[in-house]
Amino acid sequence: MRAMLIREALVVARRPAVVSIVVVYSGLLALFLSAWGGQRVPMLPGATVYAQLQLLQCALLIVVMPWAAARTVATERADDLVRLSAILAIPPSRVIIARLLAAAIAPALVVAGALPVALIAQQMSAVPVSRALADQITLLTFALPAAVVAVWWMQISSDRLLGWLGATASTMLLVTVARFVFPGALTAAVVAAACAMAGGAMLASRADLWWRHLRGESA
């Protein structure tokens, strides 16, 4: 299991997409601050720049998090996953568990990478730093559902773009439902993470049945 975790993490780390996603996401947030930060913000009258940055963060992350996970996770699926599991003599469920954990790395890095921008907004709006950190931890918690949803989609979809689109739509749905049912952002994030863990456990348990043997359409 340790070898599998290291390999999945190495695969994520090797993807050039990780750095570009972090740079683009943080850059957009920084651009928002530099463009509107010192002035009255036309978007939401009465809201602090920090509150508006948070809103922008949420909107971007719903799209960026599944993309980051889908773009960076290892690509073996179906028969390739069967072969990988066989040569390693590791059950497919363990491969999937390692992949789920590794898939959360990229979305988490995206959130963490934007922490300096969030702290600048917090300073500009005179919001307590503890609140800013709590908000970032809440966003960080959403990395898990995004990762699980992305891995689900990447395993069942043969096309990466389709997988990402499916993962984005599913994450959006999950986050919206969680946010609607549970008004507190942290509660919603924790509930979404709990749902994701259940979904991840379900995928892992099914993996040993689905990817036990090659599909074997031909001799």
């Binding site: 072969r83 066989a86 390693l88 003599a89 590791i90 074997g216």
Partner: protein, 227 residues
Amino acid sequence: MIAVRQLTKAFRATTALAGVDLEIGRGECLAIVGSHGSGRTTLLRILATLMRPTSGRVAINGLDIASDLSQVRPLVAYSGHDRIDGNGLRVDEYLRFVASARKRPVASAESIAAIVGLDPRAPIATLAEAVQPRLALAAALVASPAVLLLDEPFHLLDAGPRPGFVRWLLAARDAGATIVLSASVADDVSELCQRVARLEAGRIVDVDASHRAVSAIDSRPPELVGA
């Protein structure tokens, strides 16, 4: 080590294996020869637990491959002609990962890459199409299991790495590993394997120790192999 009883495998209307019986001992090398479509790859894949048989029984080290899958898989390693997705890794990184998962010395990764003629430092994505399947071969060697199942390994290697590869297999065999491989060139098999089984239309038609079975297919061009 391996006991196959009345093994059959059908793909819709096609019967790939039609009642195969085989006994392969520990430390034995068996070559399976046969024409294109004779069922060699299917037989090896079933022995490797990658495919489910339609009927019949296969036991490896006394363990049934259907009911004791998790115990059988650490005993076997299979190399076919499939591509491995590098996912950004280098050859040595992938082989070290296999060694680590199999609890084998990771130091063997580089030497085995060299045995099959791969540059250990090469990114997997840059390997040429013809060379790429050697990675699966190297992974099977790195796994160094009790049962090594190789589908046309000599077809993957040019003249350069062949002698070293054969030496490695001979050493593994002498150390007690059971080797089952499909082959089309008699010279490769005669040095390595004590017995040759000839497979035709999904049936073993001849098993002997004199390599008589191989002579029937020697004249075939190598590109026809791979059924």
